[in-house]
């Protein structure tokens, strides 16, 4: 069988997953695959970029080195930018005007950082001024690493997920870091005002300064960055500026190829564009009017497309994704899913706020189903909540049951020695204290060992270990101690910092 030619444009996380899913479905026997990647080398896991910024080798986050492609018979054309595809002749054109024929094409061109047009941000040639960075690729991280020195001042423009992550790493590297965020509170896409405020407290405790409701007006300096001016006129010295103001879908190839583009490349539930033979997945794709900027939807799309293209489940359809965000910064626990605020009148909101401990938990429930949740400071229930959220499981009448669900971890509980009669080790010790000196006597007192007898050996051992001590008078206070211990409430943990006025 002659294999069809499948061209994939872009080599990011969507493509990486698509290749895995195709391989799992034996797709390499159906398709001769070519992947075009702009960056050098193979695919990597972009959500782990902060590790590279923090100093790890880029290879630490590479999911598919070039050898992977070779081993799986996939042709990788890296360090090469695709300019357009001719959808009628079915050819992909790269910037060196080479063309390559395809039978099917998948656009997975991802997104690019939004760079606000700040005065002084770029040089005359249009390139970013030295010291101004975006945070999107391994190359960006390496450039920042090279630039940043201990004691430098960094301005991070954008207090979203990516900006906070970058700020934390730079702060850990010994820089003086200020986050400038245009909205009144941090991570405002995923968090409400109160949660954003609490997060600000946590961020500041890490040694990072935060200025909300502000933006940068201009970047100053002769050659390299020397400072920024905020919109309230404040001037701040700066050795570097990191732009983390969000992303937008990369659609220039699609536009140049006359594919339908709205915010992103418009696809249907099969991830197909209206142009025959052309599909799109990932952050560049617009599905039912939505584009996505996090990885889980991209992976879901890749799975569906692999099902469709290999015919494994040719009727598989993508119906949209539910969003779940975790801020992955050490010492800061934030989880957010679905709705941040209620949408319609019937929506019920439940909030638990601990001001001293600085925790905040909020649920948005509609018709007994969880539509959104926000957790700051205490994310123990996140795992349970996200499963309710994903599956649409009904919430209990009192949603607190889920919110405060027992942690899956447990301190070791009282051990049952005799499982037939549910007799605990304490009950047996008490029987011994009360005078039981043999396995039979323990059995008379507690029924332990009178069922299957499995525990008799252990009862004998307990007699051997405990009896000599427990029979002494000292054993009596032992019991008293145990009781008092169970009625004493442990002291509340001390606050980590002096109280601050509530925001």
């Amino acid at each position: 069988m002659v294999r069809k030619k499948l061209s994939i444009i872009g080599n990011g996380m969507g493509t990486c997953r698509l290749l895995d899913e195709l391989a799992r479905r034996d797709g390499m026997r159906q398709y001769e695959i070519t992947v075009f990647g702009e960056e050098t080398g193979g695919a990597y896991n972009r959500i782990l970029l902060s590790r590279v910024l923090a100093g790890e080798s880029p290879d630490a986050i590479v999911t598919k080195p070039p050898e992977w492609y070779e081993r799986h018979g996939v042709r990788l054309v890296h360090s090469s930018r695709v300019t357009r595809i001719d959808t009628l002749r079915r050819s992909v054109f790269t910037e060196d005007e080479q063309s390559r024929r395809y039978d099917l094409a998948v656009l997975a061109t991802g997104s690019q950082p939004l760079a606000p047009p700040l005065e002084g941000m770029t040089r005359a040639d249009g390139e970013l001024r030295p010291g101004v960075f975006v945070y999107r690729t391994i190359a960006d991280c390496l450039r920042m690493r090279q630039h940043a020195r201990v004691g430098d001042c960094a301005i991070v423009l954008g207090g979203g997920l990516l900006g906070l992550e970058a700020a934390k790493v730079l702060s850990d590297r010994g820089l003086h870091v200020t986050v400038v965020h245009v909205a009144p509170t941090l991570m405002n896409t995923q968090l409400d005002g109160l949660a954003g405020e609490m997060l600000r407290g946590q961020i500041e405790r890490c040694g990072i300064f935060v200025r909300v409701g502000r933006t940068v007006e201009s970047v100053c300096g002769d050659e390299s960055v020397e400072g920024v001016v905020l919109d309230d006129g404040t001037a701040l010295p700066a050795d570097m500026v990191v732009l983390a103001c969000g992303v937008r879908p990369r659609v220039e190839v699609a536009r140049a190829s006359a594919l339908p583009v709205n915010k992103g490349i418009v696809v249907n539930d099969a991830l197909a564009t209206e142009v025959p033979g052309v599909y799109a997945i990932g952050e560049c794709a617009e599905h039912r009017g939505r584009t996505y900027g996090v990885v889980a939807p991209v992976w879901e799309q890749a799975e569906v497309l692999a099902d469709v293209l290999t015919g494994t489940r040719s009727q598989a359809r993508y119906v949209g994704s539910k969003l779940y965000t975790r801020l992955k910064v050490a010492g800061i626990d934030v989880a957010s899913m679905g709705l941040v605020e209620p949408e319609i009148e019937g929506d019920e909101v439940l909030q638990v706020i601990e001001e001293r401990r600085q925790t905040y938990r909020k649920l948005v429930v509609r018709g007994g189903r969880l539509l959104g949740a926000t957790l700051v400071g205490n994310t123990a229930a996140a795992a349970t909540l996200v499963q309710h959220f994903d599956r649409g499981d009904p919430m209990p009448d009192d949603p607190l049951e889920v919110l405060c669900a027992l942690r899956s971890s447990t301190a070791a509980s009282e051990r049952v020695v005799c499982t037939c009669h549910k007799v605990t080790a304490t009950a047996i010790r008490e029987a011994m204290v009360a005078g039981a000196e043999s396995v039979a006597a323990i059995g008379d007192a507690t029924r332990a060992g009178t069922g299957c007898g499995s525990c008799k050996g252990e009862l004998a051992q307990l007699l051997g270990v405990h009896a000599p001590h427990d029979r002494t008078p000292a054993a009596v206070p032992l019991r008293a101690n145990r009781q008092s211990a169970s009625t004493t409430t442990p002291a509340p943990p001390l606050p980590q910092r002096s109280a601050e006025p509530a925001a």
Binding site: R17, K64, A296, T325, T379, V386, R407, S409, V416, G457
Partner: protein
Amino acid sequence: MSPRPTLPRIHPASEQTVKTHCPYCAFQCGMHVTTTDGDEPALRIAPDPDFPVNRGQMCIKGFTSSALLDHPSRIRTPLLRRGGALVPASWEAALDFVAQRVQEIARAHGASSVAAFGSGALTNEKAYLLGKFVRVVLRSPNVDYNGRYCMSSAAAGQSRAFGVDRGLPFPVSDIAETGALMLWGSNCAETMPPIMQWVLAQKSRGGSLVVVDPRRTETARLATLHLALTPGTDLALANGLLHLAIAHRLVDVEYVANRTEEFDDVRRSVLTSDPATVERLTGVSAEDQLRAVRLIAEASSSMVLSGRGPEQQSKGTDTVLALINLMLALGRVGKPASGYGCLTGQGNGQGGREHGQKADQLPGYRLIEDDADRATVARLWGVEPDALPRKGKSAYELLDALGPEGGVRALLVLGSNVAVASPHASNIERKLGALDLLVVCDAFLNETAAAAHVVLPVAQWAEEEGTMTNLEGRVIVRNRVRPPPPGVKTDIEILGALARRLGVDRGFDFDSAEDVFDELRRATAGARADYSGMSYARLRETRGIFWPCPSPEHPGTPRLFAETFPRPGGRARFHAVPYRPAAELPDPEYPFYFTTGRYKEHYNSGAQTRRVDALVEAKPEPRLEIHPRLADRLGVVDGGKLLVESRRGAVCFAVIFSADIRADTLFAPFHWGGKQAANLLTMPALDPTSRMPEFKVCAVRARAISSPKDVA
């Protein structure tokens, strides 16, 4: 030192007391069986204080095991189906009938239309002889056994990573020495109670215990940390723990460099198993994931022991490999009191998988598709290598192929109740009914025997000799307590008699199990599971020898991998095993997870334990475990009835409320047959490598019913 436990009085040793081993699980507790006269029960059973595995402990199943020997419903004469009913027949008539039908069927439909199904309950000798009988006498490739349903995933995983598969690579006593113990999908406090003495010793020395189980079981209650994961997501969690180990620099870089290979692939493959992704799949919070990995990585020694939970899935092999990846990355495998092990289930689950009753294996873990292995075994058996059949069908596939459509027309079953133990049980029941010849060798008329054309009554554990290989790879002798009752034969006698009738005299005329063992150990000489240095005398004297034991002077091998792995180059191999979901996930139509497990009081299909009064009194019927919140939603009260349906079948269970189970999951034990069979619901999706069915997860729906009429 604490004094030796004072045990229930054991009668003074006399010629009436025999040291032997329990008939049930792979722990193979040593026991003293005393034959007494007078008003007392004929047999008295006490745990053996000196056997170093159970050290004087035993569970209720062992204590009550003698009830089966003189049980009134025991079969004592062969039965032949005449006009729809099983009627008594002479041995002569029964064996002649079987031999004649086998010959007719083989002539009409080919040798491979005759098959055998063995068991992890069979002694090494029987497992060996059954494999030989099928290959040499029946000349059929089709022999497999219920071990596929037991630890085949762990076996496949260990073989691929370490080059050898022995349930535990160390004695159970090492458990007490380890700093951090992770019990993954094992409820051994109930399924293997005497092992808990080692776990408790470990805890009392300050060790930590992590238990991974969707339910807060008796075992999980003891844990320092319990991870109540979503059924079917063990692989995601294991990969997630490795992701964290790498991210937090807990990997033993030197060990990985010196003793393993292919780490790089795995390292890259788990890059996408970040805590948030894993949390969403597994329901185990990112914080608990990190706590777990820190507990096992920061302890000076640690081990992961898996049970059927992660193994009985359609990705069981990959899940075991992920656990092995983790322990290799932490540099634990082969270190003192450390590594990966599998808590084998069936009595001789270990030996049963070594001696050739498995479709792809020959004795000693030799491979039936390996030319050198074929030649070695053929020489010993006195046949041409080409005369040996090739690889046959695996357990579920074999059973699924029964009847005219599948082409397997005759089946000989030894020591297994396949009608209850198989997934999608109604399918297997139908297939059994489509056979031209079903021969069941058993002591009782179990659910499988009910469909048989011929039932041959066999001797039980205390009535014959044989060796067992326990979960540690320790080979022990099960001594005979008393002769079998009149009218029954041993499996070895039956196979010999059938071989003779089928025209093969040589090679099956053994006088004793010891004679079979003598041939078996020669068949394993030089193989991975090498028994050649063992003898009954040595085994009795030493209370067991760990394989490999290649010469009479060799002390056996309690611990593996300290220096090297039996793979080319001597290194363990990592395997990249990306997560994939279960074959069937809950959806709006079937919205709940269903999972299965065991009761302390019962054993596997219940064929034995459901006949013991004390056990039936304790647990008379299966109860469906349900979270009160889910019960409330479904409108069922504690003790009420719930009809549980999957795409394959429906079972009506009485429910028991428990806050210890996830609110999205229902649990039922699988020890019962007929209308109460949990396996009517389960999924026959198979692991691509081990061919293990997905017993541990499927999707069901449920509704409360008020009267039996509602079960339409």
